[in-house]
Symmetry: C2
Subunit: 327 residues, 2 copies
């Protein structure tokens, strides 16, 4: 198995194994949380403009990526924080993805896109594949390794992404069970399914398992993964029972409240199958304890690296305690 494997799930799991770290840094740039001195440079060069905002984001991300590239296998840029600055922000997103890939990181775009037919194909082409230009020529645009998608429209909304995964060796993570309080509004509803009553999120999990069958890699995992909030052990076991071969993308570590003990249950018994994301807790570590005392804002990179190493250690120790560590 090499990092050039033609299956996304294989590539991701191999990257996890190389770094001995199933965690992921969320690149959710928020200018108001960035060190002042970084902003001053952009402001002086570009004035108080969207270009300055975009430039600040690229500078910040580049430094964070450099600081964590040998620690984590993957980054997860949340496109909302770029898109909010319009075309300038999307340019910053494109540059961030390019730089992260150049540093050998797997890029999982958090976009939660969803639509049907030619519209879903346009999303899949732009984010995972190639778009039509003129005279039958094509161009790669975002070219991320994987992206998140929303399942509310059913398989019609997922198939175009699966087609791109096959053609371009990419992956998707389908929203299954989020851990926000109002997940219960729809996801926790009790649904009739072939004579049984089950939760809605289990229906979605069954669909994800089904959709993933054609994209299984040599390591036994599918390139159709699931977004699963860090949650109660019982729910994680339930979801694992249905989606044995899906890689779970688990957001919400650290700043959003999930601890290593909480995420361990999302891993399979083989110690594989989950990638845990922390965003603010890593990239803005310098703003909060225990890092704040140790690192000035000028040292935000060192704080991010320290937080990424702490997260790796915490998850490794929790996996070891659960007898799931396999390296």
């Amino acid at each position: 198995m090499t990092a050039n494997s033609s299956n996304f799930a294989d590539r991701l799991l191999e990257a996890v194994r190389e770094k001995k770290n199933p965690s992921c840094v969320g690149l959710d740039p928020r200018i108001e949380l960035m060190p002042e001195q970084l902003k001053e440079t952009s402001l002086r060069r570009y004035g108080n403009t969207l270009e300055a905002a975009a430039n600040t984001i690229v500078e910040f991300n580049t430094m964070i990526i450099k600081a964590v590239a040998d620690v984590v296998p993957a980054v997860k840029p949340q496109i909302a924080f770029y898109e909010q600055y319009g075309s300038a922000g999307i340019r910053a997103f494109e540059e961030t993805v390019r730089y992260a890939k150049s540093q050998g990181l797997v890029v999982i775009e958090d976009a939660k896109r969803n639509d049907i037919g030619s519209t879903a194909r346009a999303y899949a082409d732009g984010h995972l594949g190639e778009v039509n230009l003129f005279r039958d020529s094509e161009a790669r645009i975002f070219d991320v390794d994987a992206m998140t998608v929303n399942p509310y429209l059913g398989v019609d909304g997922i198939q175009p992404f699966i087609d791109s995964c096959k053609k371009y060796h990419k992956g998707i993570f389908v929203l299954a069970r989020t851990s926000n309080p109002s997940a219960r509004d729809l996801q926790d509803r009790t649904v009739e399914s072939e004579g049984r009553t089950i939760k809605m999120y289990i229906v979605v999990a069954m669909l994800i398992d089904e959709w993933g069958k054609e994209l299984k890699g040599e390591k036994g995992y599918s390139s159709v993964g699931a977004v699963v909030g860090a949650t109660y052990p019982k729910e994680a076991r339930e979801l694992r029972a249905v989606m044995h071969n899906s890689i779970f993308l688990v957001p919400g570590y650290g700043a959003q409240g999930a601890r290593a003990e909480d995420v361990v249950h999302t891993f399979n018994e083989d110690g594989q199958g989950s990638i845990v994301n922390s965003s603010r807790g890593i990239i803005f570590a310098y703003r909060n304890e225990p890092y704040r005392t140790q690192y000035s804002s000028a040292k935000f990179r060192d704080a991010a690296r320290a937080a990424a190493l702490d997260m790796k250690r915490e998850i490794t120790e929790a996996l070891a305690r659960a007898e799931k560590l396999n390296w």
Copy 2:
């Protein structure tokens, strides 16, 4: 009631009344379907680049908007068709929105965004409100009148958009019932709700009705609307019974199969409350009969205008037959 009303629902319904037309043109630009001569101009100027693609899109949209601006009250750009070209495409989206607004059109962005917490706020800020720049200054980015959102994450994923609607007098349309075949995967599931069993899309409809209560305008409709695929009369009546005060955004007219008789059921008895969208059927009318025989590709604008006028007439006649016409 003026077009400057501070409530989106009022503004939209007033625009419908002024034009005597509850329909909407979908701006879903697809370069491969555009007239060759239009592409040649961009190609000569920019070469085979993303800039040429973006320029072609802006040129095409500008001409379509000019051709239909006095016929329809609103346009619905589907951001996927812009986003697929990356930052260049998003620039084309921004220019399209600006131009459509300058021509007095209501702009409903089809984006189906969804997330929670600060991420949902970033989407709401960028698309409907204002984003943070430096030194507490703010900037308006997309500034559309309304956008579509996906409800899978529950109210946590909707509230940030509702907050922006209140602050900036905007609207949202929440996906309720789509008319694609696999809508049944999730939306048609039978769900237990307070002792009754109902369809999932009715659960969503009840939530939309609830979410919309704070944003009702003087005309009695809420700025929290619903995306409802043109569907069977029975379903439309069911949805109307639950969402009496929501404006329905009804996609799929024309090229996607829905006829005037199908969409009439989505209107309230007062003849209001729906806005029906056609995309390909209008903007690429020149490619298909009955327009193809009459209009050369050089006359694609005239074909689009003729198709928009035909759609207006068809819906008006169907509303009259159903005794729902109120102007």
